[in-house]
């Protein structure tokens, strides 16, 4: 479900995560026999391989299974926090419902960490007709790799008596 490329992008574009060190470097207890300060720069969920980058910019690939419980927790928390930050950054873009006068931060929000410096699609308070998929197959095809960062999106399924576009 998750694409390592997405994680990599997230890690580079989001503010540094400070689990231990203020500059985003994590203090691992034991990586290949040594203590190490490094950032999590890639996480391959399918193969359970984490790539760490130390202060000198050297990359070290580690099998997650080889990590101690403490270090494993550090990795999981780091990735989780980065994804949460992404989620919260998006949530901040959402103007309060029922307060259309509050303006729309999204409209002026630069593309979140887009490495190419591109700007995210602008959203404003004008009505935007929703695009509905009419089958689960169609929705799942559209859900993979289609958000602003090329990542997966969740599907929201409105199962209703009637037709949302007509009589119901």
């Amino acid at each position: 479900m998750i694409k390592p490329s997405f994680l990599l992008i997230c890690i580079f574009i989001l503010p540094a995560v400070s689990v231990v060190a203020q500059d985003g470097f994590l203090k691992f207890k034991q990586i290949q026999g040594h203590a190490l300060e490094a950032r999590v720069t890639r996480y391959d969920l399918d193969n359970q391989i984490v790539t760490l980058t130390n202060r000198e910019g050297q990359e070290i690939q580690v099998d997650v299974a080889d990590l101690s419980a403490v270090d494993k927790r550090l990795v999981v928390k780091a990735v989780e926090r980065q994804l949460f930050q992404k989620s919260k950054a998006r949530a901040k873009d959402i103007p309060e419902a029922g307060n259309p006068e509050a303006g729309n931060p999204v409209a002026n929000h630069p593309g979140v960490g887009n490495p190419a410096g591109a700007v995210a699609p602008r959203l404003d308070n004008r009505r935007q007709p929703l695009v509905w998929s009419s089958s689960l197959k169609q929705a799942t095809a559209k859900a993979i790799g289609t958000d602003a960062l090329g990542d997966d999106r969740p599907i929201v399924w409105f199962r209703v008596l009637g037709d949302l576009r007509g009589l119901m």
Binding site: V76, Q128, V131, L161
Partner: protein, 222 residues
């Protein structure tokens, strides 16, 4: 929901940007409720959170079509935005959770959410009929449900007839019962495949028949 919630620009913006929207009609499904039909242009009636759970279900799916969050019945714009935020956060967690651990992670997340919404462990773990399923109004009456921890057993008066508790609000009990029921469904059936739910949604919506109409009286014609 169409007239009120989906017409909110903020709701539209979030749905368009962060979700893939998918809709199906339950017309002809024996589990569906009943409704006097109305047009998109009809005035909206006043609805309560969770009302019409057999008529409307909002289900959040992983990209491979497994349900990780569910909301049954009507949901107003503010509440829908809140549920969208919760679903986004939950989806982010699932993305970094190995598949073998996702069900447990999901159960924990829904339990934490209920706790955050001030449901008690007794209410979360209670077994038995939930409020709202089948619109069973007897479920609102504490005297008929003396042992049901889902029903507040607030005394109206303390010894000496001193008033101590506000009057029971059946509507808020109903709405909270629906919220509780939705999260408990997700805890009991984590990551249920969407086609399986479509074949038999009664685990979420029960077997009753909810009824919906607009304040304009709707339109019985087709």
């Amino acid at each position: 929901m169409r007239t009120v919630s989906f017409s909110q620009p903020q709701v539209q913006a979030v749905l368009s940007r962060d979700f893939v929207c998918f809709t199906t009609s339950t017309e002809g499904d024996p589990s569906a409720g009943e409704s006097i039909r109305h047009r998109p242009s009809d005035n909206a009636g006043t609805c309560l959170r969770g009302n019409g759970q057999q008529n409307v279900q909002t289900l959040f799916l992983t990209p491979d079509g497994r349900i990780f969050h569910a909301v049954s019945g009507y949901i107003a714009p503010d509440d829908l935005l809140e549920e969208l935020r919760f679903a986004q956060e939950l989806f982010a967690v699932l993305q970094v959770t190995p598949q073998a651990d996702q069900e447990e992670k999901l159960k924990t997340a829904h339990r934490d959410r209920l706790t955050q919404l001030e449901f008690t462990p007794e209410q979360i773990d209670a077994v038995g009929p939930n409020i709202g399923l089948g619109m069973d109004l007897s479920a609102f009456v504490p005297s008929l449900n003396p042992g049901n921890p889902l029903i507040p057993q607030n005394p109206r008066t303390a010894p000496g007839n001193r008033p101590v508790a506000p009057p029971l609000d059946p509507m808020s009990i109903f709405a909270r019962g629906q919220i509780l029921n939705d999260h408990k469904f997700c805890m009991k059936h984590p990551l249920m495949p969407a086609p399986k739910f479509d074949r038999d949604p009664t685990a979420l919506i029960g077997t009753g028949k909810s009824f919906f109409m607009s304040s304009s009286g709707g339109n019985s014609g087709r």
